[in-house]
Amino acid sequence: MRVKSPDFWSGLALAALGGYIVYTARGWEYLGQDGPGPGFFPLWYGIVMLVLSAILVLTGKSEASWKGAGRAFAAWAAFAVSVALIKLLGFLIAFAALTFFIVTVMYRRPPVTAALVAAGVAAGFYVVFPLALGVALP
């Protein structure tokens, strides 16, 4: 067991998920008059998940490089914020803001370039999806 290995922590997370599945599935019918109930299948794969995640916790020793992960998490956070903003500002503005962030912060381009790219892709989406393809934007 290596506490520093990411396998240890991912194994623990999956064990928690397995435990949740088994605990929840026990509340549903296992075998009824018509055959297996809704708890049958989840109970079994939950148990297998618990066993396998225990193996991963005990034997996992892989390493992971987190170099650059900060950039990926920042991009993901920006994406999540833009999703949250869709209901408030509409898709086009939220998407343009996300693009602006990626171009200026992630790729260090001047704000003018970022604004042009953001406006360009947002306009492009409006032309392609609702106008040309008839697909509604969020």
Binding site: P6, D7, S10, L14, L17, G18, I21, E29, L31, G32, D34, G35, P36, G37, P38, F41, P42, Y45, V48, M49, L52, S53, I55, L56, G60, S62, A64, W66, K67, G68, A69, R71, A72, A75, W76, F79, A80, S82, V83, A84, I86, K87, F91, F95, L98, T99, I102, V103, M106, Y107, R109, V117, V121, F125, L133, G134, V135, A136, L137, P138
Partner: protein, 500 residues
């Protein structure tokens, strides 16, 4: 419908202007996607899938298949010119392709890759055409226990071949099974794992997970660094892209090797084009008169893997269309596409939808020809795609993902789920969990549970039904053997260590 009549009917449909156009769009998009490192066919097909709901299913299938096999052609371009595989199936092509390019033979390498892809891709379609219909007829005898056993075998193969760790691959598959359980149980109307959210009662749409795990996961991984790679000069003019007669002579066996190995590996669930290309490269090196030159720029080292990864496409469509069993992430998305359009891939698929099947087969012949043309004289044009700035490309992928998900469900909640699955996809990449088993678990989870429950209903709760029927017993035994293979090899290694 016999093979010849079916093929004629297929060509009549595939040669209709609209279908030709969609075939071309798919092949061109596939080539572009294959050229771009970090954007694979599963991500592209998942993103475009929602938009195909507006199309005729035959045209949509022709286009999506074009992306699938077109990417295999495009993947070689970056392997040869950048030493960066455009997609995983082209990793082996880097070994000799890039060395050829460094010696000033980039044109010959690109040319032989295109020709090998065309030859083997065509052989793969021939295999699909002749093997799929009889296999479907054989599978007509299958009932729920056989289906459960077949899906278990398929999942076991995928798990075995999916990554470095079988434990991680199995766990990824189980997470896929869990996601497939979310929603209302159709047998009992019980809500499962919905966390009290109304939006989850109808389950999580496959498109949300596929786009999140493949497209967003890939983009987040690519955003980790601002990469600057050196693109070798692209030869201009058809004459500079044609291999010499000697190159073609040297590649004769590689064409055959790639065609056969690729198709056979493709038929096996979990095989995949990456494995096919590695095996054919290994065989080519083993039988070569100059094995020491492999890795230093021999033309067979490009022809064999490029042929194999194209022939694999035809093979991979056999279990997908005849048994409803996908063998990889991309074919899992194609399966989901067929289901979403209202089809049921399985033994009856070909007999119930001959027009769709044969137009797809015919379009693959046409598509391979289109790709040969696209990938010989137009390579310099396609290579320009590599100059697209990442700061434009990645926001566009984010946007298309959001619009794609919203067009399926009309729900902003699903776009929130998309963000969650994007993070999951990125995390799996970082922690070395393969994503194909998760997607397969998700796609097959519902059918697997249904087949198991129906089997147990037939036997009034006795699990013996799964081993009492011969086909089911054989397939389940194989599944167990496949899962135990890593244990056997570990015991073998331990014994050899003791002996030495």
């Amino acid at each position: 419908m016999d093979v010849l009549a079916g093929l004629m009917h297929g060509f009549a449909l595939a040669l209709q202007p609209a279908n030709l156009l969609w075939c071309f769009v798919g092949c061109a998009l596939g080539t572009i996607v294959g050229i771009m490192p970090g954007l694979g066919p599963p991500a592209t097909i998942a993103m475009l899938l929602p938009l195909t709901f507006l199309m005729n299913p035959a045209s949509a299938m022709i286009m999506l298949a074009g992306i699938y096999y077109g990417a295999k052609y495009g993947g070689s371009t970056t392997s040869i010119l950048l030493n960066v595989p455009g997609e995983s199936a082209s990793i082996v092509t880097c070994l000799d392709g890039y060395q050829m390019a460094k010696k000033g033979r980039a044109g010959a390498a690109l040319g032989i890759a295109a020709i090998a892809s065309f030859v083997a891709g065509t052989v793969g379609v021939l295999g699909l055409m002749f093997i799929a219909p009889p296999l479907a007829r054989f599978a007509l005898a299958f009932s729920s226990p056989e289906y459960f056993a077949l899906m278990s075998l398929g999942l076991a193969m995928v798990v075995l071949l999916a990554g470095h760790s079988i434990v991680k691959a199995l766990l990824a598959m189980l997470v896929g099974l869990w996601i497939s359980s979310i929603g209302t149980d159709l047998f009992s109307s019980t809500s499962r794992f919905t966390f009290g959210r109304m939006e989850l009662l109808s389950g999580i749409d496959f498109v949300v997970v596929a786009i999140g795990v493949f497209a967003l996961g890939e983009v987040l991984g690519n955003l980790e660094a601002i990469e600057k790679s050196q693109l070798l000069p692209v030869p201009k003019g058809l004459r500079n892209l044609l291999p010499t007669v000697q190159d073609l002579k040297d590649s004769r066996f590689a064409f055959a090797n790639g065609s056969i190995v690729g198709f056979l590996v493709g038929v096996l669930p979990g095989g995949g084009s990456t494995i096919a290309s590695f095996i054919s490269y290994g065989i080519e090196k083993a039988v070569s008169k100059r094995p020491e030159q492999f890795g230093h720029g021999v033309v067979e080292g490009v022809a064999a893997p490029e042929g194999a990864n194209n022939s694999e496409t035809g093979g991979a469509l056999v279990p997908l269309l005849t048994l409803g069993i996908p063998g990889s992430g991309t074919t899992a998305i194609l399966l989901a596409a067929l289901v979403l359009w209202g089809f049921k891939p399985g033994p009856l698929f070909i007999s119930e939808n001959p027009s769709l099947f044969w137009s797809l087969v015919a379009s693959m012949y046409i598509g391979n020809l289109m790709l040969l043309v696209l990938n010989l004289p137009l390579v310099p044009l396609f290579a320009q795609v590599l100059r697209t700035p990442a700061y434009v490309l990645y926001p566009v992928i984010f946007g298309v993902s959001m619009v794609g998900v919203y067009s399926v469900s009309g729900s902003v909640f699903d776009i929130g789920l998309l963000a969650g699955f994007g993070l999951l996809g990125y995390g799996m990449r970082k922690l070395d969990f393969p994503s194909a088993p998760l997607i397969l678990g998700l796609v097959l989870g519902g059918a697997l549970e249904r087949a198991l429950r129906q089997s147990l209903m037939m036997s009034e709760g006795s699990l013996s039904i799964l081993v009492a029927r011969p086909i089911s017993a054989v397939m389940l035994s194989l599944a167990v053997l496949v899962l135990l293979m890593p244990v056997f090899s570990r015991i073998n290694a331990w014994r050899q260590k003791l002996l030495s």
